[in-house]
């Protein structure tokens, strides 16, 4: 999809050719990879399949992570779905549980699909698979959603590095939620403009998000954050489908995010030198954990 240097160029291509973003992305990527569109679609659907397998195994497991810092929360949420006091829809509960399940599997050293990174892998997976399970969306539709999500992430990655170390969590979970929001609009058959508004709305809401992992591990706050980010992705997509537009065009939102990433102090960019990582509780865990880590084999 190297053809599209900006979202503006992508949108112009879609309008000129009366095509959707997923069609534009497939055509461009199939040229780039020298693969047929059918084979490419098949390869992407395998990734959707893996996302579902990760989620299924995650919501069934109470196992702790390798460090012992997380694990078992997805299962708790699924059990809460029918609780008397639950005010959220089953869809919202599923979104949170699936995002958490993905990150919990990640920290158990089980298989996940990085999207765009391992630490941000919950948003897109939870959104697409919850749409399948709760709304009966077809695998074809969610695969189209994933292709669009990937296309969004790719264009963003031309303007900023997608890593917490480079630009904070906004570059991982923030971008992931933009990808998820756009992917959901595509799966619902929204217009290319709606896809981009959804992504822009979602990313501006998570702009500025810092990366402050306790003990440097991809667990606290990453696990719950992935659970919540899929809900806000679906909310952003819903806004766009209702006709709400992002006042700031998406290309400018991305440039702003890259600028915020540059302005962000290094203590808040995956170094575990600020935020939750330096709270007394975070520090206590980190000290214990490092003591364990330093013990030679």
């Amino acid at each position: 999809m190297s053809y599209f240097e900006s979202f503006d160029a992508l949108l112009a291509h879609c309008l000129d050719n009366h095509c959707s973003i997923v069609d534009a992305a497939l055509e461009s990527e199939s040229q780039e990879q020298d693969l047929s569109v059918e084979l490419l679609f098949q390869k992407v659907s395998v990734l959707v399949q893996q996302m579902e397998e990760t989620i299924k195994s995650g919501i069934d497991s109470s196992d702790p992570s390798m460090s012992g810092l997380s694990g078992g929360d997805a299962k708790k949420l699924m059990a809460y779905m029918d609780a008397e006091n639950n005010v959220l829809s089953p869809m919202a509960i599923r979104l949170m549980a699936y995002g958490i399940a993905t990150l919990e599997e990640n920290s158990r050293m089980r298989k996940i699909v990085a999207c765009p990174t391992a630490g941000g892998s919950g948003s897109v997976a939870a959104t697409l698979i919850a749409l399948e399970h709760e709304r009966g969306m077809s695998r074809k539709q969610t695969t189209q959603g994933l292709i669009t999500a990937g296309c969004i992430g790719e264009i963003v990655s031309r303007r900023m590095h997608l890593s917490g170390a480079a630009a904070g969590c906004q570059a991982e979970v923030g971008v992931a939620s933009g990808m998820a929001a756009g992917g959901m609009v595509e799966a619902f058959g929204g217009t290319p403009e709606q896809v981009l508004h959804a992504a822009a709305i979602s990313m501006q809401n998570l702009m500025g998000l810092i990366c402050d992992p306790v003990a440097g591990l991809v667990e606290v706050p990453c696990v719950v954050r992935n659970g919540l980010s899929s809900v806000q992705a679906v909310s952003s997509a819903t806004m766009a489908l209702a006709g709400i537009q992002s006042y700031i065009p998406i290309d400018e939102v991305v440039d702003a995010m890259a600028q915020v990433g540059r302005l962000m102090p290094r203590q808040l960019k995956e170094t575990a030198e600020g935020g939750l990582a330096t709270t007394p509780t975070g520090q206590t865990f980190a000290n214990q954990f490092f003591k364990m880590s330093q013990t030679p084999l």
Binding site: R110, I147, S157, S293
Partner: protein
Amino acid sequence: MSPSFFDIVGPVMVGPSSSHTAGAVRLAQLALLIAGRKVVDVEFILYNSFARTYKGHGTDRGLIAGLLGYGVDDERIRDAYEWAEKESLSFKMTLDEKPNNYSPNTVKFVMTLDDEEKLVVVGHSIGGGKVYVSRLNHYNVSLKGEMPTLIMFYKDQPGMIWRVTKVIAEQGVNIASLTCSRGKRGVEAFMSICLDTALYPEQVAEINQISDVYIVRSMDKLSS
């Protein structure tokens, strides 16, 4: 190279970190490609963030698994210690926390191969599973595993590049980039050549037979 869809969505990988786990696996895979044969003993020297957080991120397991030839999605990564024993790879993990100029996620592989050749490789994981090797023995190199690559040590003297590239040209293979680095004038130099397609084994053998070429390795690109 321009980013591809599958750089953004994917890889399918064993967690928890694309830089500290998948990156570690890929770096070790790259070291194995450079070695070109079974590694029987290795010391992993970890620096900076790798040294501080390797256990929680499974960097140690990833490095072992990669040297055994396992991929980033191989669930044997979790049990890499047991697999190392089964496949008779002896290893040692050393933490070097002295200040250095290396990038955050750096590891040095001090390897002994099955023919007792020694090889030292320094590699870096730079995010999203992307990696590169910056040093091979005492040469500064830049090996990324993105393309089939020919690497060789040879006697430093006039005409060596011509002799090698002639063989490549005869097979009709296009050279994407070529880098040379001299160890000691008139004694030894190093060359790496990135190719659009891999050479046939016969051509590799032909290059190996050029007089004063000491060691040649034909590396595939890293599987994604």
